[in-house]
Symmetry: C2
Subunit: 458 residues, 2 copies
Amino acid sequence: MKNLRINLNKRFQLWGLMLLMFLVPMAYASGGNSKIPEYFLWIAVLLLLAKSSSFIEKIKQPAVLGELIMGVLLGNAVLIGFGWFEPMKHDPIILFLAELGVVILLFQIGLESYIEEMKKVGLQALFVALVGVITPFALGYFAGMWLMPGLEQNAYLFLGATLTATSVGITGRVFKDLNKLQTKEAQIVLGAAVIDDVMGLIILAVVSAIVTTGAVSVGAISIITAKAVVFLVGALVLGSFFAPLVNRMFSMIHSGHGMKFSVAIILCLIFAYLAHLAGLAPIVGAFAAGLMLEPVHFKVFDDPAINKNIQAAIADADENIRNKVNKELDRFNDQHLDRLVAPLGDFLVPLFFIVTGMQVNLATLSDPKIIGIALIITAIAFVGKLVSGLVAGPGVNKWIIGWGMAPRGEVGLIFAMIGKQLGVISDELFSVVIIMVILTTLLTPPILSYLLRKQEAG
Amino acid sequence: MKNLRINLNKRFQLWGLMLLMFLVPMAYASGGNSKIPEYFLWIAVLLLLAKSSSFIEKIKQPAVLGELIMGVLLGNAVLIGFGWFEPMKHDPIILFLAELGVVILLFQIGLESYIEEMKKVGLQALFVALVGVITPFALGYFAGMWLMPGLEQNAYLFLGATLTATSVGITGRVFKDLNKLQTKEAQIVLGAAVIDDVMGLIILAVVSAIVTTGAVSVGAISIITAKAVVFLVGALVLGSFFAPLVNRMFSMIHSGHGMKFSVAIILCLIFAYLAHLAGLAPIVGAFAAGLMLEPVHFKVFDDPAINKNIQAAIADADENIRNKVNKELDRFNDQHLDRLVAPLGDFLVPLFFIVTGMQVNLATLSDPKIIGIALIITAIAFVGKLVSGLVAGPGVNKWIIGWGMAPRGEVGLIFAMIGKQLGVISDELFSVVIIMVILTTLLTPPILSYLLRKQEAG
């Protein structure tokens, strides 16, 4: 035993433990007799596999890609005779947790989206976002009609809508990983991605409503657009009106982090429900709640030992140093809400991506025509966003901006998932969209880092 | 508008906002057409009401009591014609979330239970715990047979088992609130409460298994006890064996908090499932996972600005001060796992208590006999624990220890809930148990603080 442990390196031990945790319960999985404990096992296994897939980060790819690919593998394990994951695909509790996960994710994205940032990059970002939404939408709509004739109008609309997405998470991550967040290109791309998010959610609301109500008249679209804009703008106005109140409320709460976190989650869920009442997707409401709460900073650590202890430790230092340390402590204590929401996201968001991946039917790929269409749509997805770089104005590298806008990431997936739930997107079209999302998400980071390094060198 | 705002004080504004958040969606609740967004509303409303009930903390009562009473009110709102909450009582998704909540709660209690603390208070705590388990169990069993003749044997067993519980959370909180955690009495009570938790979970496992399998032979009880002990001891041995590995694993994880949190939750859920496979309640496994992970400390903040920034701020200070500050930073960074798990608990645990409260049928209280029985059982619950103070040994205030053991809190509720799920505990008996839990939890804090202040005075 001891020899064995010495021979195994640490990494192997880690994976061995994970494998053990996974296999032991699997072997006994048939022994259960109540349903709820089985959900505990399901969730544990899904989370474990989602987290195992994060080795993909080692090769500089976003974790979401790993979760998605893992989901595709699990959802198609039945093709090689392993049907253990099959019942999860349509289980109401698993689907509910996944849906709650995407609501929490959009809430987090809302919390991370700063209206102030959009103002700074201003018009350039707005132009990039507009072109980056209109071009892929139009290209996708017409390419869909050309490549897959005979589908209903709504399917083409959804394909176009899905192509408009930009993953602010992935884009931001690449710039951050390469320490380029402060470049003008990064500022424009991030601003444009945020505007893109908002426009994308409006498009999603419009397209969803068209699908649900069947209305395609200009009047109906205007009403839906107005509704979405009123809802988002209303949430922001309400937000800036109530933010000081919420802030004061939060500062009145002395019963630890629990209450602050709960108030945030309650707002997120209520806005998700209100969006649903307004005929929008619940995620639109969650995003609005996040944007609204964004200005609310508060003390995460009200009474931690760190303040008292460090202040005691520097009691004998001179005043200059004491002031500097106190400033840093204040800055640290003034944490952002997203830190509190993160664990809930860590629990639920991977379930959304893995369950989304599970909906991909690889059997549809036996048709080489589907693969061909997916590749053409992917090319269109890149072209549509690269064009947006051209309007970024002078003094910036247009290629970097174009490629920065390219990854569809989680936003594209959310669109596809909603389309599938609404019954607009067939299995084939869903596979096409998922391949497009995977390829744009997978190919962008290496290309972008090549361009950024080239810019630095030259 | 401005005048209005000036006239309203801050507290009123806070409650007004909460009321608004609550009423607006309620008014439109009938407008929805999909099921999932409605769950968002349900959860938001339940969380909001659970958190609103925390005003009870202002009158020095534990929050759990407020959640419970709120649950009782909501669950019986139908008696005054308000049936909006009725479908939640038996909704599979709400019940699943509540069940997940109690699993997370026991995981948290396990994380907070230190084996080292038990060792220090040693034999005294063990005696108190043993007497504090045996006396209420015997008294409850026989009192049940005397007061409610004609029920099945299992009902009396469950009543006795429920009376054995001690809420380590509530007990600890009272001592902490009064700044008495370092007294010998507090150490003994906390140690005994932890041992009580473990014994209580074994009793719960035994009683549950007896109910499920129908076995009441001494041989069967021995097997179940052995199974429970082997499971718990096994988890602890495995835990101390794997803890360094898990610790190393955690320190290898550089991808932020997400991974550490996920590994902890995965272990919690897998142990909950394994306990179920071993014929125990899932919460026993969650508790074991918490105990097992307890020695695993790790850096919560791997790469926060605080380390770098504060170190920069003290760069000019003399070495002595720099060392002291660095020591404090290290101590701060070495956070405990429960801080990461807390938000998930904040989200799910109140759902458990409020849903538990909802199961109380106030209609059963129209029978004065039930109220009489509940009061006698409550008296027995106090006597059973006060007796345990007598064996606490010399040099301590026996009354403080006895009353310290009295609150049943969440542990008693978990017992009652499991008994109800198993069909052993009737509506009447459940009401009796809930009243006992509420009264022991409600009356103890004021009495204990009176005794502690009297001891201090002289």
